[in-house]
Symmetry: C2
Subunit: 158 residues, 2 copies
DNA sequence: TATTGTTATACTCTATAACTATA
DNA sequence: TATAGTTATAGAGTATAACAATA
């Protein structure tokens, strides 16, 4: 408060907490995921495919934020582990239908409830009102940040 | 609400928003960082070293959540770019004092205000009250999650 | 001509462990 | 004996571009 910057930093405490909270969650979550012999990306794919009839690579990439080149590698490794299958897409000859294999489906149903129950225990101290408020504020924040992504071209320069 | 799981998922909407808000921020932030020719890890180190007299690898690792083996590689690349310097630590012969080079310091002072101003513009729609509430809720969440990390041993099993 | 997914390349981060040199 | 940092290794994600098959 005696420096050169104006009021340019009022958002920093909240932003720092966002990053730290996410990192804390990521630490808890990825510890659990790694104990299953999976990476975060692999788990994301399993979770995305769970309870579906199968998805195209494009769909999976959209949901997991992976570009197609990356996804191919992740799917290769999941296929090698026998957790997914690739089949020709019935409606589009260019596309691939990616599905959980029986093993993958069993894994999904074995680990997901456990994962959720584990997290639920952690979240017990937070009231519904707190969770709801948190959700709404985070949603507002996200919309602001995503609005920026849309404006890909009119950037900072001028 | 007609499935097998109990109330095991009341936290999921908030958690999903946490992840999505973080991903949105990460998208905005890393777009800016990559445009500077840096990776997120490299930027983290630059930001950590900014406005300090230099830090040990241990300190940097603690703040950026990188293990020492990873950090060595990141520091190597920053050193090759001429952005940091490694000097023997004056107080401990085993340790290294990592500092921003003049070039790195210039970069830090050139990009940090820009980065903050850029974010400040994005955050303009949020009121101080909203930011404050968000910060407090995130802090509560983080403490819950970090409490878990401490209990490394009495895990889910029994 | 546009889209889907794969391949290829080069880089970076991750995790782990062995190693050195200091303390 | 413990700590700080480097080195070595193997594996995995990232970004980008070129490519084949299909629409």
């Amino acid at each position: 408060m005696s420096t050169t910057e104006p009021s340019c930093t009022r958002f920093l405490p909240a932003l720092r907490e966002l990053v730290r909270a996410y990192q804390a969650f990521d630490g808890v979550s990825s510890k659990h995921i790694r104990s299953l012999g999976l990476t975060t990306s692999q788990f994301d794919v399993i979770a995305t495919l769970g309870n579906t009839e199968g998805l195209s690579c494009r769909d999976i990439g959209d949901k997991t934020l992976m570009v197609k080149g990356t996804l191919t590698g992740v799917l290769d490794r999941l296929e090698n582990k026998g957790l997914i299958r690739r089949a020709p897409h019935p409606e589009d000859g260019r596309s691939t239908l990616v599905q959980l294999s029986p093993t993958g489906d069993a894994l999904f149903h074995a680990i997901f409830p456990t994962h959720l129950a584990y997290l639920d225990k952690l979240f017990a101290p937070l009231t519904d009102a707190e969770l709801s408020a948190l959700q709404q504020h985070l949603n507002a924040l996200r919309q602001i940040l995503e609005r920026d992504r849309a404006e890909e071209d009119d950037d900072v320069s001028p």
